[in-house]
Symmetry: C2
Amino acid sequence: MSRGYNFCAGLAALPEDVLDQARAELLEWDGARASVMEISHRGKDFVALAAQSERDIRELLAIPPGYKVLFLQGGATQHFAQIPMNIARRGQSADYIVTGDWGEKAAKEAKPTVGVRIAATSEATNYDRIPARETWDLDPNAAYVHYTPNETIRGVEFMTVPDVGGVPLVADMSSTILSRPIDVSKFGLIYAGAQKNIGAAGLVVLIVRDDLLARSPKDMPKILSYAEQAAQDSMLNTPNTFGWYLASLVFKWLKKQGGLAAMAERNRAKATLLYDYIDGSGFYRNPVEVSARSWMNVPFTLPREALDAPFLAESEAAGLLALKGHRAVGGMRASIYNAMPLAGVQALVDFMKDFAKRNG
Amino acid sequence: MSRGYNFCAGLAALPEDVLDQARAELLEWDGARASVMEISHRGKDFVALAAQSERDIRELLAIPPGYKVLFLQGGATQHFAQIPMNIARRGQSADYIVTGDWGEKAAKEAKPTVGVRIAATSEATNYDRIPARETWDLDPNAAYVHYTPNETIRGVEFMTVPDVGGVPLVADMSSTILSRPIDVSKFGLIYAGAQKNIGAAGLVVLIVRDDLLARSPKDMPKILSYAEQAAQDSMLNTPNTFGWYLASLVFKWLKKQGGLAAMAERNRAKATLLYDYIDGSGFYRNPVEVSARSWMNVPFTLPREALDAPFLAESEAAGLLALKGHRAVGGMRASIYNAMPLAGVQALVDFMKDFAKRNG
């Protein structure tokens, strides 16, 4: 076994217990005499898995009645486009709060379908903060308000859910979902690509309030309609069954860890360890305003760009993987999602200390 | 090891060699010190996998220059809707040749986007044949002609590619792709859900001629545009990397089997063994016209419906899995895709003989 500590931001590390179980039953799942990939999604075994996974995520996030949970495909990006198709009426506009690259992309992909208003943005300060709430220019008649609670690339996170009045709040939670408890009742629609805290790429989880489901136009293709997918329990066509299965294992793993309150404690401790070290190092630097620093993605720079290549080569050699920052930002980025243990962050800090000493 | 012979039509059996390899490297892929699910799709390791998988499917299908291969998500059903969005101009209609339930669904999902003309259908005879070519009412100005080379539910397959003149031919090959050589140059667009002959559900492979790619409107959401996906090598957003990886293993496995000419021989032999036995049995019955009988999906009925339940119970007990027919048809269905060995079909025939003797 020579798995490294994997700090990849995009397709994140999975809990090793989950991978171990997936490996153990890859050829024969739960007495099916076949892989979970090789059985009908309409058979009783898979339907039971699907139902249990929904119960588990409902329990983990304390999802109140009046919301449906969907397990779909296409990545968050497809839903950038699908959300306005479903919940904006013709001629309506939607408000976007942009605090980073993903919020920008969400707004762009919505444009062919809905009038997009940028109600607030921190672009002017290079997405280093959350724009002050009193500066937001919200339209009370908007179809919805969209925001990105955690921006993966620059590591900017909302610490509280913004109050947007009576307009439905839509959140791309791809890189923060399940990292801490949230109050689902404050949201109209939550969606998240699975490849950070839920499982593997190719699955998207949506949590949609019933009144928004009712907005899906009747004359759109059924496969793109949230209402139709909800009516069919996300099985309007063959779902990504292996992805759904992995998510079901992750949900069980999270429950075994003590649920989201326990994960929040652990994630807070991991982030604090890393930010405290960076701030005190006099060598590394994180540009994000302290109150908006992400628990999940920690970008940092070295004092000279010339140190980036040796830092990356030496960290890889030390089993600390995928620390290269996003091309839009440069420097380094440590993504410390749920599956990253405190020991991994400690190993990173130890390496950073040593590297700083040798190159300071 | 107690894997059965799996005749499931929807999520089909995978080659055991492929599953063995996936299991062996599930936690550590190719020296990455991480699973293939846990590494960036933009890193050089995954990009190399993607490029090799494209070379392999190009070699297997002898795809000529002038076609792009896309690895997308959403199942064939999503592309029922996406194809007209991309390749039909506003106000144009498209011709559909309907020889079964999937062709029907494809036409229905296209309707919100394009004028749908049913140019031919065998619905009147319960989809037991291909309508004679001279009866097809084709529109030379259609945006495209869509057909379903193999209908999974009723087991009806085209043995040759229909000539539709200069109109681009679009084929949903989900349940027949890679089962035999085809002449790709006769098609404008081929698409296939992966869960039969390519890999696992959650991946769709499209083969699109360049002139059709040029039809994608500029003002549609990028994520739904084939042109944009082609320009980004199917990585406009994070692809289903595990599904893509499994497909890459299946392509390698097919090359090791001798390619599609060898698979065609094997598939013909499997189908012949089963149909010949059914026809000669005086007990089982297949309703499809002999010239249109599918090599991949073989539905059959027993002389009395009361025998269905014992047939299913006893076949399951004998390790012959998932033989229940589709609810729209009843009876049994044996799906004998690429991964089903001749020995599996022989085991089925032996069981059927014995069952007939005991219940005749």
